[in-house]
């Protein structure tokens, strides 16, 4: 009984990521913020699918005496998280390549100095 501590950690990760995006001035720090939020949501999905004292949903060399539905962790959140991780790396690559271009055009990474489109 650990009083939902992993859920609190998830929210803390999301808040830290949002903090990085709102208060930090560097573009790469904003990207890192998105990565942190992404990790928080992934952790949330996996935490939702955990059952106390369960084993991974893999039948090969299953420990003997496992109850079949109740003794296994949820497979669906794990599949969703796999999708989410690959989406995260795709978005990250695109954002960083845009940042390289922005640096070439403006010569700075400060979020206040780029653009200026009113």
């Amino acid at each position: 009984m650990i009083f939902n501590f992993p859920f609190i950690a998830v929210i803390a990760l999301i808040i830290i990521g949002l903090y990085a995006m709102v208060f930090r001035k560097n573009l790469i720090k904003m990207v890192i913020g998105i990565t942190i939020i992404q990790s928080g949501v992934n952790l949330f999905l996996i935490t939702l699918g955990y059952r106390e004292g369960s084993v991974a949903p893999i039948f090969t060399s299953l420990p003997s005496g496992t109850e079949i539905p109740q003794g296994m962790a949820f497979p669906v959140p794990q599949a969703l998280t796999l999708t989410s991780i690959v989406i995260g790396v795709a978005v990250l690559a695109l954002m960083l390549s845009l940042i390289i271009h922005i640096y070439r055009h403006y010569g700075t990474l400060d979020v206040r100095k780029i653009g200026g489109e009113k």
């Binding site: 949002l18 709102v22 653009g115 200026g116 489109e117 009113k118």
Partner: protein
């Protein structure tokens, strides 16, 4: 011919109506009036002569670029009299990505207050 009849249906909204036939007839009448008015025009108008040039009280004609009123000057009086509104609006649109995310956070927290507490 059911489709054709349904094309000519009158569209009623409760206090107004819309019939394509009526509108087509109205547009035809407008064109007829325009045609008649055009018939009253002066017959001895000649292109490529002095008649075409604008008369500016005897002053020489300006450049073509100066004759044209620019787009941002057209509603000058309107924007000038409501300057405080437009100044505030311009201040709101900073073009800063962090601010965009900040507005998102603001809206989320306002909606939390409205939906979560009421």
């Amino acid at each position: 011919m059911a489709i054709f009849e349904s094309l000519l249906n009158t569209f009623e909204t409760g206090s107004g109506f819309w019939n394509p036939i009526v509108w087509l007839v109205t547009i035809l009448i407008i064109f007829l009036i325009i045609y008649i008015l055009r018939g009253f025009g002066n017959k001895n108008y000649k292109i490529n002569t002095e008649q075409v040039k604008p008369f500016l009280s005897g002053n020489p004609e300006y450049d073509k670029e100066k004759m044209h009123i620019k787009g941002s000057n057209i509603y000058w009086g309107f924007t000038e009299s409501l300057k405080w509104i437009f100044d505030n609006l311009n201040k709101m649109h900073t073009g800063n990505t962090s601010d965009y995310i900040l507005w998102f956070v603001v809206i989320i927290s306002i909606l939390f207050l409205v939906v979560g507490l009421i």
